[in-house]
């Protein structure tokens, strides 16, 4: 019933691998364990699991493996589970578990939430968010269905799930950033902002859209959970189909 795709590189201590396996056996939800390698990618392992009629594909690892499994599994009736190791807090927040043990417990209870995921035109996907976090502010053009906007920005985030942003529709991605443009401000304001940690609230922008294109003056990497998954220019959109994700009691989705 359970098909595990284990990214063992994420386990700093080798003993954790056997600890997780033993605990899953103890819970009575042990299954087939597979490991991504140069021979088998995550996508290939997922399709292998589906061909063997497993109804739950579980990723053990960080955001990278979670995103790769989600990309192969959305729109299908099989459920996706996650045991986060070295994952971002946002991903842990999404599934509502703080440790791998809690996540294993939630797998046994099989509480399923349906959610849309973010898709990237290059075939990538993301459960939580992608960010363009260049060292220096970068000039971007964001093209939406009915309008386009231009700004010099920092901390550009395109979120499918972000606990700090109230989602208004499951169909929409939330696009947030801080705009930069000190030259337009009076000298006094420039000096005050340079010597103060206070963030000007008016420089924050937030948009909602089903899809958008991101253009930058030069090619810039797009990250998700610390892993590069694409480069600009890029088309990013919300999926039409849902992913069936197993979540814990404390999940924002449940």
């Amino acid at each position: 019933m359970y098909y595990y795709i284990f990214d063992i590189k994420k386990c700093k201590k080798r003993s954790v691998v056997s600890d997780i396996k033993n605990y899953l056996s103890f819970l009575g939800i042990s299954g087939e364990f597979t490991y991504p390698s140069s021979a088998y990618s995550v996508a290939e392992l997922v399709s292998l699991g589906l061909s063997k009629k497993y109804n739950t594909i579980v990723g053990i690892g960080d955001d990278e493996i979670a995103n790769q499994i989600a990309a192969s599994l959305y729109g299908k009736s099989e459920a996706m589970g996650l045991i986060p190791i070295e994952a971002t807090e946002t991903l842990a927040n999404l599934i509502g578990t703080r440790s791998w043990k809690e996540a294993a417990d939630s797998l046994r209870y099989r509480r399923i939430a349906e959610m849309k995921i973010g898709l990237i035109a290059n075939g990538g996907a993301f459960l939580t968010e992608v960010d363009i976090n260049a060292k220096n502010p970068v000039e971007v053009t964001l093209e939406f269905k009915d309008y386009l906007l231009q700004a010099k920005v920092r901390d550009l985030k395109i979120s499918n799930f972000n606990p700090s942003i109230k989602k208004i529709s499951p169909d929409h991605l939330d696009i947030s950033f801080h705009s930069v443009g000190l030259k337009d401000r009076p000298l006094f304001t420039k000096l005050t902002s340079m010597f103060s940690n206070h963030q000007d609230e008016t420089d924050f922008s937030l948009f909602r859209a089903r899809s958008l294109r991101v253009f930058t003056s030069s090619q810039i990497p797009i990250f998700s959970g610390g892993h590069q998954i694409a480069k600009t220019p890029q088309l990013i959109e919300s999926s039409d189909d849902y992913l069936r994700l197993i979540v814990g009691k404390k999940s924002s989705l449940s």
Binding site: Y147, L149, A151, K152, I168, H178, S179, T202
Partner: protein, 149 residues
């Protein structure tokens, strides 16, 4: 403007095109095009909009060049500048505000109860008593206070 904001256009952001939102919109940057919301639109001091602004309630502290249409209330703050016609059920223009255009006051049924042409109006009113004072017509003026004898 108590509703939570769904869309925020930050300062130094330039938007070209038409922005339509079911929820509230806050504008602090520049917009060339229509801004429309089923709820409220809050136009900050640094905002410049060239195009129509349409919503239930609108509060203007920045600059708008174009039609402003509020189904319920339009409030132009002391720093607000409106160059264009306005259409609102309730109109409040604070002292220091600039309004160049024509104002049309609509009642709940959408009928016009009066209109006044403004060539240049600087510092019109201080309080929220503007709406009945601008609209004077024959039905209201039964006692003949406003008609010349």
């Amino acid at each position: 403007m108590e509703n939570s904001i769904d869309t925020i256009i930050g300062v130094n952001v330039t938007l070209k095109g038409n922005l339509f939102n079911k929820g509230s919109i806050q504008v602090n940057g520049s917009v060339e095009g229509e801004v429309k919301s089923d709820e409220n639109i809050l136009i900050g001091e640094s905002a410049v909009i060239k195009g129509p602004v349409i919503a239930k309630k609108i509060e203007i502290s920045g600059e708008v060049k174009g039609l402003v249409e509020a189904n319920e209330k339009l409030e132009i703050q002391p720093t607000g500048k409106v160059y264009g016609d306005v259409n609102a059920k309730t109109l409040i223009i604070r002292e220091g505000a600039v309004f160049v255009g024509k104002s049309i006051m609509s009642n709940t049924q959408g009928e016009n109860t009066g209109e006044k042409k403004e060539k240049s109006l600087d510092a019109v009113e201080n309080d929220e008593k503007v709406e009945p004072e601008i609209t004077v017509n024959e039905k209201v003026d039964k006692l003949g206070f406003f008609s010349k004898k």
